[in-house]
């Protein structure tokens, strides 16, 4: 029984992110408008928990911001105006995809930096391998005894 309850809880927990934490009471009646509100909310960062969007967060402030997004949409504002309203108050920090600027250059440049670093490491490794291959000494020529032995072995193998 207890295990069943745990399973049910786990199932619910895995479902929850897909559903969002929005209560039915705070959802918009029009499904198209509600979908727009969710899309906007997923782009806005919860300032309390910081690694969640306001759609996913249970924080009180996130709930207030969700409500504001829905009020503005219901009032007929377009997506851009709704995002600007929140951006005006909390700055770039509230955007989960911040614009490129001097402060975010390192953030956006990170993939390039990692790729370049990896490429450079690979290049150096290959260079070293090639240098090591070149460093093998040429094998000494066979002595007459060795040549005779090789011929005997080959004869054996042929027979």
């Amino acid at each position: 029984m207890r295990r069943l309850a745990t399973l049910a809880l786990l199932g619910w927990a895995s479902l929850a992110p897909a559903l969002g934490v929005g209560l039915p009471s705070e959802m918009l009646r029009d499904p198209a408008q509600e979908e727009r509100a969710r899309a906007i909310g997923r782009e806005l960062r919860c300032l309390v928990c910081q690694n969640q969007s306001i759609e996913d967060s249970e924080a009180e402030l996130a709930r207030d911001l969700r409500r504001i997004v829905r009020e503005r949409i219901a009032a007929g504002e377009d997506d851009r105006a709704v995002v600007d309203y929140v951006h005006d108050r909390y700055g770039d920090f509230v955007l989960l995809r911040p614009p490129f600027s001097a402060a975010t250059a390192l953030l956006w440049g990170m993939p390039l930096l990692a790729l370049g670093g990896g490429g450079l490491a690979l290049l150096l490794l290959r260079r070293r391998q090639r240098a090591e291959q070149g460093a093998w000494p040429e094998p000494a020529p066979l002595t007459p005894e060795e040549r005779a032995r090789l011929a005997a072995l080959e004869d054996d193998a042929a027979r």
Partner: protein, 187 residues
């Protein structure tokens, strides 16, 4: 040696790596000195006037509420403090606010998402540093200011321009190292 395109191609990644390294170094230095906080939400209000609002008074305290218009043209710089009785760091910073109030600094409070009776009881118990106290039960004025948690403290100059914002409790260090110099500069 002329810079051929081949050499340029080899130097470009190096240049990017150097720039990246400098960026990371600046971040680490900032983390060390406390000037850079990756979790801190920088206030967009600094350098601007407070947004329009009108806060009703908190009945039980008998203190008047206030509007944004009343923050302009003041005789001295002023502190606006967002707080709540349910907020633990607010208790930590309270002695500092009391000290400033005793020294004659104007501290205006915004009571955030609180029960009026609880807020009044908090002030009777710990003392009242506020000349004015507005109640923001829905928390909308706080959002207009860009508040993301209580306590938060703003310093406004005499013209009503926000000059400084501190998220978190005003500790004795913050009082001495930040607030006092700012009060002097904007006096």
């Amino acid at each position: 040696m002329p810079l051929t395109s081949r050499r340029m191609l080899m130097l470009a990644p190096l240049g990017i790596a150097v720039a990246g390294g400098a960026g990371f170094y600046a971040m680490l230095r900032g983390l060390g000195t406390g000037s850079y906080d990756p979790r801190g939400v920088p206030s967009v209000l600094v350098g601007r006037a407070a947004p329009p609002f009108a806060l009703p008074p908190l009945e039980a305290t008998g203190l008047p509420g206030f509007t944004d218009a009343e923050l302009r043209d003041l005789p001295a710089p002023i502190l606006v403090n967002f707080w709540a009785s349910w907020c633990v760091p607010c208790i930590i910073e309270h002695p500092q606010l009391m000290r400033l109030a005793r020294e004659g600094v104007a501290v205006w409070g915004v009571n955030y998402k609180d029960k009026p009776a609880d807020a009044a009881q908090f002030l009777t118990r710990h003392g009242n540093p506020f000349q004015r106290l507005g109640a923001d039960q829905p928390g909308r004025v706080a959002i207009d200011w860009g508040v993301y948690g209580v306590p938060e403290t703003y310093l406004l100059d005499r013209k009503g321009i926000v000059r400084w914002r501190w998220p978190g409790p005003v500790t004795p260090e913050v009082l001495e190292q930040d607030i006092r110099p700012l009060l002097r500069r904007h006096a």
